[in-house]
Amino acid sequence: MHIVVCMKQVPDSGQIRVHPVTNTIMRQGVPTIINPYDLFALEQALQLRDKLGGTITMLTMGPQMAEDSLRKAMAFGADRAVLLTDRFFAGSDTLATSFALATAIRKVGDTWGKPDIVFTGKQTIDGDTAQVGPGIAKRLDLHQLTYVAKIAEIDLAGRSITVERRAEGGVQVLRTQLPCLITMLEGTNSIRRGSMADTLRAARAEVVKWSAADAGIEDLTKCGLRGSPTVVKRVFAPTAREEKAHLIDTTGLGTDQIAQALMTEVLTRVPAIEGDLQRAAASY
């Protein structure tokens, strides 16, 4: 079995700073990490490979430094890594991203065998769109399985796969045919710790680097800014509310009195609650 896992290197959003006065992004020293959602996809892929055999190819579109993340993925146990990197990709939105990735996956298939499953994370923590997975599926005509919580069964001979998919208010059990694209739900597993041997192998491994041309992309107008129908026109800070909270004067009040004052204030401001709660209380 051949599995492709798409992975993105992202800035650790917890550490992004916005300057309080100028509202500009302060990039100094913000570390990059593997998009945390993608690790659930990788671990699922590793588990499938452990069980069914085969190889895992990691694919990232990003700048040169994304090589670090790919190497890290190999230390977890992935077999090879491809970095799709080219200045033409700069400024890609999800449509352009899925075009580039889909074309590269085709090339991966030509080089190392057609993938049976393509994994992506549910979404990324920087773009947060969850659109890239479906975009790749559509472009490669793969059966699309999003928000997958569990792979219940794979029948390689019969080329079928059964999964549990998170839906609103419940879980959908779906069966479809390979090849398919799966976006993996978070919290479904936890990434393993690679062995010393895998870690050494990853440190020595060559990360395959493809330019747009290497990946077989002919139409550069479909890439990067030019290939992106969406346009970010304005970036701004959320406006502050004019009024600050009305603080209840607690001087000299005991806890019970504070609570009493707070309750009274709440019930005056949202009188509807009183009625609701009375009805609820009455129906006990």
Partner: protein, 434 residues
């Protein structure tokens, strides 16, 4: 188990480990470097000062691509009491030279860069891997490799270089050295204060990549032995304060409490105003000096950097000693390897000999008694207050004749710290300095 044997395994990817790994790998040795952090420098968020000379001897062309923040053109030495600052300031355009001598850096970025160079030189660098144990030959006791916290984690090497920093437990656990003493360790806390570049440059009167370093001592440490500092980075200030752990224990003060006091000091607060504070880190500094240096080598192993207590507390030098000890260790290992001699204690003693001849040991020896002399409450409380008073008396124009002012100042010193005390303070510091 991994089947191959490395020429050397370096434990830790700070300045000492990096200098060592780089020196060996660039000379063709097969080097494996293991780092506990997520990436080299991930545990080192703070800003710091880089002394060019030590790095230049490892990587001569480092200025071309190292992430340097600012080169230092001005040094301020502050003596502070609660409301005032006196001190010395030295600024020179001569520091705007082609190859500046001191730079401010942000360790996380610098260590990462250094590690990239180490990898480019041919060393294998593996992060998120903790060395749990030195593995010895059961008969001879010679160190033959390390065990890590990963599955199948035993790796063999001809020599293991301990560059694990001050917190490293490996050497201690292996019985190679005794635990650090609390009065040999300082605890420093640091913060990064982010400011827009132009605001920062206006505040410190800087242009381009010029930088300022402020070192401060006085009542800010509330009687404990220690200093505080402010370094200018490109778009941030590194602000910190450190004192001996033994003093913290004794006084019950908290490092963060001290830092807050420093931050709010009337001379410091305006420098930090409106900044965005991020990244608060505590870090230990070995300040025992020469007397605290442990056994530095043995059969199949060496110690470099902070792990060997190589810090000059008086001049706030650490990373340069780390890089220098790392480099010398690397050179020695390469030399022995090139002769095809075993890396045993006898041959590795060359490392200690070379250190003795270098500035590292000479400087540490020079100040061997200073740590004790500086451990004197009066230096951090009485004198700053006296000096502040003296200067105020002197500068105030209030109709009192100058002769009388002089007398008052001299009297105030003797009144507060009797002649014998004063003399012994001066004596012990002078002797420590010799």
């Amino acid at each position: 188990m991994i089947d191959e044997t490395f020429d050397a395994i370096v434990v830790g990817a700070g300045p000492a480990g990096n200098a060592c790994a780089y020196t060996m790998a660039s000379r063709g040795l097969k080097v494996l470097q293991l780092e506990r952090g997520e990436y080299p420098g991930s545990k080192n968020v703070q800003g710091a000062i880089l002394y060019a000379d030590a790095l230049e001897k490892v990587i001569p062309d480092f200025r071309e691509d190292a992430p340097l923040e600012r080169h230092v053109i001005e040094q301020r030495m502050w003596m502070m009491n609660d409301r005032s600052v006196s001190g010395m300031q030295y600024r020179s355009d001569d520091f705007n030279e082609e190859r500046p001598n001191r730079y401010t850096i942000i360790r996380a970025q610098f260590d990462k860069w250094f590690s990239k160079r180490v990898q480019a030189a041919g060393a294998l660098v593996i992060c998120e891997t903790t060395v749990t144990e030195l593995v010895r030959n059961t008969q001879t006791g010679r160190v033959i490799g390390v065990r890590t916290d990963r599955a199948g984690g035993f790796i063999k090497a001809d020599v293991v270089v301990l560059a694990e920093g001050v917190n490293g437990l490996l050497g201690e656990r292996a019985g190679l050295r005794t635990p650090h003493k609390a009065n040999h360790l300082a605890l420093a806390v640091k913060e990064m204060h982010f400011l827009p570049r132009d605001t920062l440059e206006a505040r410190f009167n800087l242009q381009g990549d010029e930088g300022v370093v402020i070192e401060a001592a006085g009542t800010i440490t509330r009687g404990m032995t220690g200093t505080a500092f402010v370094y200018t980075n490109k778009e941030s200030l590194s602000v910190g304060i450190g004192c001996l752990i033994s003093d913290f224990k004794e006084t019950g003060e908290t490092p963060y409490g001290l830092l807050e006091g420093f931050r709010k000091h009337p001379a410091v607060a305006p420098l930090l105003a409106e900044s965005d504070v991020k990244e608060y880190a505590a870090h230990m500094i070995p300040e025992g000096g020469y007397n605290a240096i442990p056994q530095l080598y043995g059969d199949g192993w060496l110690v470099v950097g902070d792990a060997g207590q190589f810090v000059n507390a008086v001049h706030r030098e650490g990373s340069n000693l780390a890089m220098t000890t790392g480099r010398i260790a690397g050179e020695v290992i390469h030399q022995i390897k090139a002769r095809r001699d075993p890396l045993d204690a006898e041959n590795l003693s060359l490392y200690a000999q070379k250190l003795e001849k270098s500035f590292v040991m000479k400087d540490l020896k020079k100040y061997r008694n200073l740590p004790r002399a500086l451990h004197n409450k009066h230096l951090f409380t009485t004198y700053p207050n006296l000096i502040s008073q003296a200067l105020q008396t002197w500068f105030r124009v209030d109709g009192v004749e100058k002769k009388q002012k002089e007398n008052e100042i001299v009297k105030s010193f003797f009144r507060t710290r009797k002649f014998t005390g004063l003399a012994s303070d001066v004596w012990s510091i002078a002797r420590g300095w010799r």
